[in-house]
């Protein structure tokens, strides 16, 4: 029993240590899977939408953009999210508050873009900021997206596993020229990163992000402790983006160590499981008729010894009972 408890404690300890290191990755992957399911539902909904319905969505977004006097960014990360208007929530609302999808192939990022609301604050999801342009596929836009993200070096152990907090973590590794893809219904808008800056929260709040004449821009903002990372990108034609992305469009064969990792590990785990099962049932199969299990024999020996001592000295039991 003591041996069993020791093994159990050791297994639990090992599981806790492995879990500590593996959980953020697994949790992140599960979060991404959930996002992928949301986007699959989004695509299914846009697939059955007729052309007029899609055009109307973009018309509504354009009307919203025309109504904006100034494009700015409130500090939605520290001040909290104030209730946004129903009018804003209904524009470009294709599926359950999702506007579209942001894809950055260079950092393997693919996230749904939500309307900013108290249910979907910028501290939890990648959101469109309600004081900026909606993606209406037109000129004179500056679409501001905001989402959580922490620097890996600054990551607080308590924060690990909070998948949503790690969404835009890799944004720091982008360089000017990186392509950002925005999929809204069946339209694709591609932006090229023109600048990356680190600003103070107050500095960002005071910034006028209103686009210039004929400009089509996208701005992504993510918190880095008390500072804000701002990525600015300019729109480029889809055909130009296709030519640029064609260079990266290829499949490769993984290195040998990855082959071993992906193929060897499942086989090894399966083999170990088989070994464990055999070990568990081994005692039953390989025991001679009439032969007891080693544990039973040991137990019997101990009880036998006890019996002998009690037989030799019956007063001892009484002494023990009295104690």
């Amino acid at each position: 029993m003591k041996k069993f408890l020791t093994i159990l404690i050791l297994i639990l300890l090992a599981a806790a240590v492995i879990g500590y290191f593996v959980y953020p990755t697994v949790s992140d992957q599960l979060g991404r899977r959930r996002d992928a399911e949301i986007m699959a539902a989004y695509r299914a909904k846009t697939a059955v939408m007729d052309a007029d319905g899609k055009t109307e969505l973009f018309e509504q977004a354009k009307a919203w953009n025309d109504s904006l006097e100034q494009v700015r960014m409130d500090d939605v990360f520290t001040e909290g999210t104030s209730r946004t208007s129903r009018d804003y929530q209904n524009r470009m609302n294709v599926h359950d508050g999702v506007i579209g999808e942001l894809v950055i192939p260079e950092i393997s990022l693919s996230l749904p873009i939500w309307h900013l609301s108290t249910e979907t604050p910028a501290t939890r999801k990648l959101v469109h900021v309600n004081t900026s342009s909606l993606p209406a596929d037109g000129i004179g836009e500056n679409i501001i997206l905001a989402g959580p993200g922490i620097l890996q070096a600054e990551g607080i152990p308590g924060e690990i596993g909070l998948t949503d907090d790690r969404m835009l973590e890799d944004l720091d590794s982008m360089i000017p020229g990186t392509l950002i893809i925005l999929n809204v219904t069946d339209r694709t808008m591609v932006y090229r990163v023109s600048g990356i800056q680190m600003l103070s929260a107050a500095g960002l709040k005071e910034m006028d992000l209103t686009p210039g004449e004929g400009e089509e821009r996208m701005t992504i903002i993510s918190p880095r402790k008390d500072r804000r990372l701002m990525v600015q990108a300019e729109r480029i034609p889809v055909r130009e983006a296709r030519t640029l992305l064609a260079e990266e469009d290829q499949a490769t064969f993984p290195e040998n160590w990855k082959n071993v990792l992906f193929l060897g590990c499942p086989v090894m785990i399966a083999g170990l499981l088989v070994l464990l099962i055999i070990e568990l049932i081994r005692g039953r199969i390989y025991r001679l008729p009439g032969e007891k299990r080693p544990e039973d024999e040991e137990q019997q020996e101990i009880t036998g010894e006890k019996k002998e001592t009690t037989e030799k000295n019956p007063d001892r039991i009484e002494e023990v009972e009295e104690q």
Binding site: A36, A44, A47, S108, D249, T252, L263, G264, L288
Partner: protein, 307 residues
């Protein structure tokens, strides 16, 4: 009467212990050999029929994003593929070679005629497509003739030329010019890309690309529930394709950003270029799952009039 001796019990117990330890040792060795053999056999079988591949770029949209690791089933002889299958293939992106030929005095050589040849060891072979299929002949009589344009430029399509060194030999000069005796060397160096894209039409099927309506295969609308973007961004001119024998019409799931069979230069994918069919996505977890059995057209959307 049986004589009991306490040492008999001890001896019996010791014998059992030794027997048990021996059995355990043999079992461990046997199982280890079995495990090693099963891993080796598993890996051998896997490598015989399957391979791993990693997807890069945004052409396959949400289905296979950047860095997706997939299991690919290697091709078998006589194997055909269906619409919906994701193929791994090696595509040679053939670009035409344009040569501007000048005379020794620096004048452009307009309206001259050339033949193309290559040297294989000590033999010279001339390029010909006279019979409909490209062949290399020992005799220059039936060789294809290339003509230089107004600007003195000769354009050579490279679909049927392997990467390597070639020569153009002038066989007829324009009026008033001397025949160039020296051959004009040039090299073909087309990039070869290993790519993964989805089959939307097989041999003999009709594909209609239109900037005004959804893409159609045999009159049926393409299913948009797994795609992003739109074809009109990628192939704005629109055209009709009847897929030739032993070839497949492929396209990426990110319609607006994929360079694929919708492009005239890209062409369809030939059977011999196929390296396998993507069957299962392993990593990342968001893509984990079966990749086969996808329907690419919408049932009940047949309208011949739309074509």
């Amino acid at each position: 009467m049986e004589i009991y001796h306490p040492r008999d019990e001890e001896l019996l117990r010791e014998m059992r212990r030794v027997r048990r330890s021996d059995r355990r040792k043999r079992l461990c060795i046997g199982l280890s050999i079995l495990l090693i053999l099963s891993i080796a056999a598993g890996l051998f079988v896997f490598h015989r029929y399957y391979q791993l591949a990693v997807m890069h770029g945004a052409a396959m949209g949400g289905t296979l994003p950047e860095g997706t690791v997939v299991i690919v089933r290697k091709p078998e002889t006589g194997r055909t593929y269906e619409a919906g299958d994701i193929l791994l293939y090696e595509k040679r992106l053939a670009k035409p070679v344009e040569l501007t030929i000048l005379s020794p005095k620096g004048k452009t050589r307009r309206y001259c005629k050339y033949i193309l040849y290559r040297d294989v060891g000590t033999t010279r072979q001339y390029f010909s497509t006279a019979g409909g299929t490209p062949v290399w002949l020992a005799d220059q009589a039936n060789a294809d003739v290339f003509r230089s344009s107004d600007e003195g430029t000769v354009t050579i399509a490279t679909e049927d030329l392997k990467n390597g060194e070639y020569h153009l030999q002038e066989v007829m000069a324009s009026y008033g010019q001397d025949l160039l005796k020296d051959p004009i060397p040039f090299s073909v160096n087309n990039p070869v890309r290993t790519q993964m894209k989805r089959v939307i039409a097989g041999p003999g099927e009709r594909v209609v690309l239109s900037p005004y309506a959804e893409t159609r295969v045999n009159g049926r609308e393409i299913d948009r529930s797994y795609t992003s973007g739109r074809t009109e961004d990628a192939a704005p001119e629109g055209r009709r394709v009847i897929v030739p024998k032993e070839r497949y019409f492929v396209q990426g799931d990110q319609l607006s950003l994929s360079l694929d069979s919708r492009e005239t230069d890209y062409n369809t994918v030939a059977d011999e270029e196929i390296l396998g069919r993507a069957e299962f996505a392993l990593w990342p977890l968001q893509c984990f799952g079966d990749l086969t059995g996808r329907q690419t057209t919408v049932a009940g959307s047949e309208t011949e009039a739309a074509e």
